[in-house]
Symmetry: none
Subunit: 338 residues, 3 copies
Amino acid sequence: MSSPGMDEASSIQLCRVMLPDDANVMGNVHGGKILKMIEEAGSIVGTRHCNTQNGDRCIAALVRVEKTEFLSPVFIGEVVHVSAEISYTSKHSLEVQVKVIAENILTGAKKLANKAALWYVPCSLQNVDKIMEVPPIEYASAEKEEEGRKRYEAQKIERMETKARVEEVMPPRPNSERHTVGFSQSSLIHLVGPSDCTLDGFVYGGVAMKLMDEVAGIVAARHCNTNIVTASVDAINFHRKIRKGCVLTVTGRLTFVSNRSMEIEVLVDADSLVERQIEKYRAVSAFFTFISLDKENKPLNVPPLKIEGDDEQKRFEEGKSRYLQNKARRLAEKERQQ
Amino acid sequence: MSSPGMDEASSIQLCRVMLPDDANVMGNVHGGKILKMIEEAGSIVGTRHCNTQNGDRCIAALVRVEKTEFLSPVFIGEVVHVSAEISYTSKHSLEVQVKVIAENILTGAKKLANKAALWYVPCSLQNVDKIMEVPPIEYASAEKEEEGRKRYEAQKIERMETKARVEEVMPPRPNSERHTVGFSQSSLIHLVGPSDCTLDGFVYGGVAMKLMDEVAGIVAARHCNTNIVTASVDAINFHRKIRKGCVLTVTGRLTFVSNRSMEIEVLVDADSLVERQIEKYRAVSAFFTFISLDKENKPLNVPPLKIEGDDEQKRFEEGKSRYLQNKARRLAEKERQQ
Amino acid sequence: MSSPGMDEASSIQLCRVMLPDDANVMGNVHGGKILKMIEEAGSIVGTRHCNTQNGDRCIAALVRVEKTEFLSPVFIGEVVHVSAEISYTSKHSLEVQVKVIAENILTGAKKLANKAALWYVPCSLQNVDKIMEVPPIEYASAEKEEEGRKRYEAQKIERMETKARVEEVMPPRPNSERHTVGFSQSSLIHLVGPSDCTLDGFVYGGVAMKLMDEVAGIVAARHCNTNIVTASVDAINFHRKIRKGCVLTVTGRLTFVSNRSMEIEVLVDADSLVERQIEKYRAVSAFFTFISLDKENKPLNVPPLKIEGDDEQKRFEEGKSRYLQNKARRLAEKERQQ
């Protein structure tokens, strides 16, 4: 991933052996584990870059992860290599591109497991509400810079649009019938601990993503009662920072099911246990897509979703349109590569 | 568990997938893991409730866990649901009742794994030695309130009684013969880390309970060399708070063995490494009961305990009387339910 | 660290942000955490290299870590970079050299935190008692190869010598007087879990080293009641492999104290809980040196050690001679560098 014109400070490589706790009982490493490593690399490279200038020291806070696909499953015992580099800088934000390679050290086989793009903004450590300026990077070519600018503009528009749907809540749905949305809807609660946080008491974006993947996985497994794995994650927007000492409520529900995939909407709400003046607020929201696998890791059919009421129908239609768009995009990419 | 008249702040539900590290090599989830989750739920609901009023911000500190039984084994891959709600408030303490359900998300099967009752007192964050007042809850009925008051009075008396035996020590017993008390007696030390603590530097009660279960499990396994699991825990009293920077010494020894069960006494001592003026003190004590299982999770016979000396004989008799009492109580409950 | 003539398979770089859980309450990252990362890098590069040939698939099992020094303290929030490369291969063993750099991503400052050399032997996955042959590496020069051969011969002799003292035991020492050896002697037990192990059920050497550092740190803190950090570790020999399902007993005691440092001997015994035919055996032994620091991370004086009996006096003299040798070696190195 290193390209000429990039200085050393703008890239990093991290790697780790995958252990049993990183995986489900079938040995498939959780998508959430990979997302967490991706964000760790992004936050190192982002924070390091933003401090290569005079002025307040700052941390890079994650504001958005672009849509990402899990291209190959990763297994226990494999070594995961995550390489990250800064690919675009605007005045107040920067884009990090990350590549995940899984290596089987017994056979030497390597496979591309994931590719992702993350957006960060630098927050001053003196005053976390102050956004700092980002030192510009040098581009390998004018085209590279222009492509980056386009990605920057596109995500800006999309982030505006998501703000609208952020206020929705998911009421609990006890005693629902099998294969309905209510049947598999799930919530978990996580008390934020010291190791979930940066030095300054803000929760790493990767911690939230790992929890979101965990809930989405429970929803998917409840719906189809098989071994399930994360196939992709739609753009994730981090609306507000989460502080140390909060309780996170992470809720997931099925929105759409195709023959071979399940789309799960996941919402993260943050709530201070101690400070009454801080109201519970929506911190993150995203759509996860899971697939169901048999014992040889071959895809299985997914039971259809029983829709109840107009709201569920509306969300199903929206999910279907996301599904069809993604399918069309993948086909177009395949053709382009041939 | 939600009942009319309870406001949202007085209940919580948390859930988590059980991972390989939560379990022993046979796939049985450690009882200590379940106890830790129970206490996490209790401390969230307790802390939240005590802060629903004006005055100092405070944390709910665990002072007692009532006797609790592990009703069904829990396995790796299952989703554990812990629901907690406040069931009684006195002027300076509150009771939280917790229910643990284990769900196999592949088969949809659910089983009740544990039920527990915990007592908390609110400590001011300004001054941890100041006990705050607890906002009263509303009861579903006058009977519910009266039952709570009785539980409150009963635990108060029992806590007084345990204070007496709190000063005992367990000297080490090297080179003991197989199946004696000395042979399986075990100790561990644990340096309290940031993640063991609340924001204010006090160790979560659940952390101590998990360590206690760990030591008790090693004692039991050393005695019978088989797969062992926690069957029940006698009332646990938290005599004093444990601070960040302490070393905990957790020691367990067999007190009584029946055909099918082992009773292990566990003591927790806290020792400040840094502040010399704080002397080593007894922080927690309890009795754990373990059973031995074969590969199909069927109970096995336990080797008899070789008693040496009058002290061991005395403790054996006391353990036997607890064992017979519990047996009688369980029989009575069974008959009542028929 | 990459040098010409080395193929990609013989080196690796891993990095991680240090979190509160990796450090003590003063923010100093535990030496054991660094040792664990060093061994993770060594075992990846070693296992990968040994599988670059036909024949049985194998894992690289750690047999020895050469004496290593902690050159600068590492703090929470710093990014630790661990780079490892194979520096020598004999017929049945290989040497990995590892360098640890700590980077402050806010200031950009980097410092060398540790340098270590580890020896591995490849064990067949079909039959763990079968030692495989190691594919030879290419050396940058004939001198490099000759230097490696000398290190190989030297460690072979030293490993023989340590075998002799392996059988010693540390009896418990209750109720000892302050500043004696018995007063600070400490033990922990650890039940080996899945995440401590390779896929094949063998405990990573780094797991044992982390536990050893933990016990040594508690011994040191009990002796001087201050903030203590690992200064160096004498050669560690891994006498026998440790299996999943074992209980490890890790015991540490002071052997020697100078004005400014404490030497702690640490022994690791493994005990199978399930298989009765496997007797408890000595798995690892080593000497750790700790220093005491004030709030500005400046070294403090250490209270003298009260020696009781001839055995303690003998160990004290041996410790003193190791201390003087190391001091002389360091001085010689300093002069050579000027």
